[in-house]
Symmetry: D2
Subunit: 371 residues, 4 copies
């Protein structure tokens, strides 16, 4: 790390669950420092510590407790070069464009721009090369280009993390996914407790669409400034379950080749991505851990592996219909939201995509040599 | 009902969760009366009310509170002609044979004899004709034949209830089932609360095997004194979830024909079985209810429909891989255990299979005319 | 029952949790029939079955499914004589006055008028005589008097039900109450599941005040057209716990006399109130049941005793500080809300307080002889 | 820290929940290293990683994964000087005596010896001076004295931590405690999930006795080689609630003086104990944190403050009966079990009570100057 001083960032939508998680993960970050936070109009001008209904399990970072909430507008957060967006989808669309037009690197967790043809939709270990798609964007002016990067849906991330090594090694044809998703994905107020205790809600609005659509783009190929979608065919059924954090996915998968189970396991265990090669600050040592034991992974026990950034896989066995089946667990508010977006921001910084900050400034010689 | 007096029955293994449910459902039953209850040796000779750790939500039926617990042996329950078995599988195998050898009609919820070639495995609405398979059994002596009938696994019952009308109308080829199963299925002590709160356990011992194997038999055809298995191919993945009662199944199904969704729904709604035609006491008016609304069925809201005997179905929609998909909910300790077995006992009685009790004695003229 | 036809009633605020419970309990009621239902403006004019997010565990009663939602105004529900109010406290104050001014018997579950000096606050078994306080009201006109009656707070009801027999027999001086309250008390959306799963919220707005204040009035004495408050001193601490239905109260009580534990138990077991004497339709056979066993009552097992109208008590033992201590359980949305209010409406009807319906019309000779 | 090498310790009963927590907390400990682990006979001789059903949320520490499980006997763990006992109370009594007789410093979480007249029962911040009571013990031989130290019950620890500053400042007379205790206190199998989901169990065997008895000793005075019990009178009611970790206590307290609420709060905030003065490795910076906000503390949000070693207090307000009331939260398996015992072991080491290790060897100059 050769930065003379840390890169000032803004967190957009800082009072919600994802915003709180961003602030928690950004506390003491080696590259970034939170210089501005924004909220909806009725909270603007108020001190963060007095406004937020804090619900993380660690205290509010002292460095943000006294920050004042700014409006969600580029003018209000001058001095920042990067905006991490935890905005709700009802507000994210035009707001993120405004920041990009003002020259910001916008890293968004919202769904609004994910499927824009010129917007990278990236899991850093899976498709870092898609960052180049951002060159097709024309936000900002010649001297001050802005960019929008997006993080996939929380359950998509666990899905494609598990699938990417299989696609690379054996070719991916069909996926049947049934999810058991944690309530934190819906934030506060989110799911009423009357529907969550002693109950399953077998429906999450729009979720199955995202799971069926986003993998086409993430696993696709960047060619001539556009993504050629991957032809995988996916069937998704999504359930809300009484779990605080951690999405569980029961997957059956049809591969082009028909590897034995040991080869599948080996593909996962060998998997490392660019975040590991670059030594990005939020990268887990291992993006995927294969757990032994009949009954793993379990959300309460395994969601925090790799500080919530590692995807856990267990119960690999043959599927009578599609070939193989297994269970995947991914922390939905860390890897699946703020943590995944932060890692994406780190990757972008390491690629020199932060305005005014060279790649060499953040990636020192040691990291370079590890590549 | 022309019985002069009710048929005396024994409940084997009366102190566990399934036994308690049998006693609750048998209280004030129009045909059967609980004349004897059995337990493992250490409880034998004790008063039921002093021994059981009662955990139903209605009080112990007064008629059984003062019964003494007998050993689980035919000699100990003389006077009964029918034995409902709630025995644990560790004890059920030889015990049920002993009762059959002594001339009892044994209706069992245990897994031990389900796959015996001469033992009917029956969901009364689905395969009542399989009762005839019992003629292949040779328990007891010429003058006093005994019989074993079995109830399928708790999650199998919901599965085949939903599938049977589709098989009849459109032909069934492939089933992909992911279950979200309630903790009551494991009884007490069962699942430790440390594994149940804020958690999913993606494994239930032996459960996936049962779900993949039992439908072959239940949906099979009785020919020449044997069941020709149905060739349906099933992939099952079973999860334990923090729900008290009610198993939820996310199903994708491939049918031989390719009906539109309205035809599928119509097949379910038109479905009635022999229990409905005969007007059996525990038969729900409708074995299947199709629920409207995006987010139904839900275990807490819908498990008690039809007093826990109705299977709820919702979210019917196309499946990109197999054709159609939908969600099924079935009450695992009522329809899936004691209630299903009781209905099976009623069906057997209505077919004249209770030693010494003619079919006409239990099924009066009104019921007959309804057939 | 000698009514020629049932008394038509309106349910105000019929779409919420308490409203749904009212409709469920009023289905097939022997005295009352739901003739009108009201809702807030945005639902007015819509069919109930299309509008409500039904969350009871039995289906919408067919008789109300097709009713149209009326505005919450007396003119809109002409033909009814009784209004059961499930209105939120934000709307109940003036609306209930309007109905009383229009000559209705209003039976309210809202808090707004509970402490009005001329409004009876009644648990039918505890202080039925307080109904006479309504004579002090001057709602309506000479020929068409209206009246407001109120049901106490959900946790107050369990509290005073347990205390009333002790007050009568031994004199009540001090009460220390810690509550563990179910999430259904807050309705939908109510408590966010992120705050309910694996958590306790040790605070419920205004609840401790209600528990400390309402017993003064309920246990007070009606003298000269006013309630002389009972001097009991109460300390209440209220917690929200991950339970669907059923409020648990841990009570320590100081009595004037110092009865032994057997005498305390006997006082509870002997307790019957006017609803039992009159044979009111919703009255449980026993208002209080004392449960044996170290670990009773438990909400999941015992909340439905007496169809949710019975108060369960257990764990009676000495308290080193106040004398005795014990645990009380009461179903908060049945006895503690709609069921309690319905019983109050029945009591009022049996006292001739329904405009145009004589007491003799509802209480037949059999009931009379039971008094 | 001037130890040339770490002090080798044994963990007795290493496979249970408390044992697992000990191993987790001892991983990378600056003073202690786990050199031996013991289990019941049927696990003896097996590798830890193959034997334990690990249920912590961090992986098994690599340093213990390959250790072999020894019998719980001093001969089997030669080389260790300290034994942390996570034994079940069914085994702890004679086993801990055997280790003490063999010259070990035994630090126990079991209840068996807590009330022995010569055994210190210690919360390090509250009554560190009671360690001197150990001089009355005569375990071992002249050259090799052993000692037993004990950690209080999990809910007692939160209780006395909150009370100690009040006793010191204002004098403590009466305490009314109602607890809402997490299921982890009962371990695995522990509480069946059928009793934990959507339920409260208002009883925990022996727990109320411990809460009423242990504070007398902990808050007592060491005089002439014996503890003169503190005369505080306590009433405790204990409930099991659906929470994974963290015991919540609703307390009402009568103090000799009648301080205003600000003075009470100030007493808590100023509170520091010998672990803080000595800078013990497991000591939280602040033993007590007073939380703002109406609805704090909450177990899910606040149990991990100070790495689970800090006691959280909120909702301080007047009590109409006893003077003041408030809510206390303490992590029951960290501060209330293994973490508390580890801190006690650290305190003992810093006092020179580890055989063969001088106080100066563990407490360096910096720590000394902080005293």
């Amino acid at each position: 790390m050769t930065l003379e001083r840390k890169i000032p960032v803004a967190v957009l939508g800082a009072t919600g669950q994802v915003g709180q998680r961003f602030l928690t993960l950004l506390a003491d970050h080696p590259w970034f420092t939170v210089a501005a936070i924004t909220a909806s109009e009725r909270s603007t001008g108020r001190r963060y510590g007095d406004t937020v209904r804090w619900s993380m399990t660690t205290p509010i970072p002292p460095s943000v407790r006294d920050l004042m909430l700014a409006p969600t507008a580029p003018d209000a957060v001058r001095g920042c070069r990067v905006a991490f967006s935890a905005l709700d989808s009802s507000a994210a669309g035009p707001a993120e464009v405004a920041f990009a037009e003002a020259g910001f690197l916008v890293v968004s967790n919202a769904k609004n721009h994910r499927m824009d043809p010129d917007v990278p939709l990236v899991v850093p270990e899976v498709n870092p090369g898609h960052l180049a798609l951002a060159a097709e964007q024309s936000y900002g002016t010649a001297g001050a280009r802005g960019v929008i990067l997006t993080n996939p849906n929380c359950s998509t991330i666990g899905l494609v993390s598990a699938l990417a090594p299989l696609e690379a090694a054996f070719g991916l044809e069909q996926v049947h996914a049934v999810t058991l998703q944690a309530v934190s994905g819906a934030g506060i107020p989110g799911v009423p407790s009357l529907l969550a205790i002693d109950n399953i809600v077998p429906f999450i609005p729009d979720e199955e669409d995202k799971l069926e659509v986003e993998p086409h783009k993430i696993l696709g190929t960047l060619e001539n400034g556009a993504i050629r979608p991957h032809p995988v065919r996916t069937s998704a059924a999504c359930n809300r379950v009484p779990v605080i954090d951690g999405h569980t996915l029961c997957l059956s998968v049809k591969l082009r080749d028909q590897p034995d189970l040991d080869a599948v396991r080996a593909a996962w265990e060998a998997f490392r991505g660019e975040p590991q090669h670059l030594g990005l600050p939020s990268a887990p040592a291992r993006p995927i851990v294969v757990l032994d034991g009949d009954d793993a992974p379990q959300p309460r026990l395994h969601r925090d592996l790799g500080a919530g950034m590692t995807t856990s896989i267990g119960r690999l066995r043959p599927c009578p219909l599609l070939g193989i089946r297994f269970v995947v667990l991914s922390h939905n508010t860390v890897r699946g939201a703020a943590g995944g977006a932060l890692l994406l921001g780190e990757l972008a910084a390491a690629k020199g995509m932060v305005p005014g900050v060279a790649a060499e400034d953040v990636i020192g010689p040691r990291a370079g040599s590890a590549t």
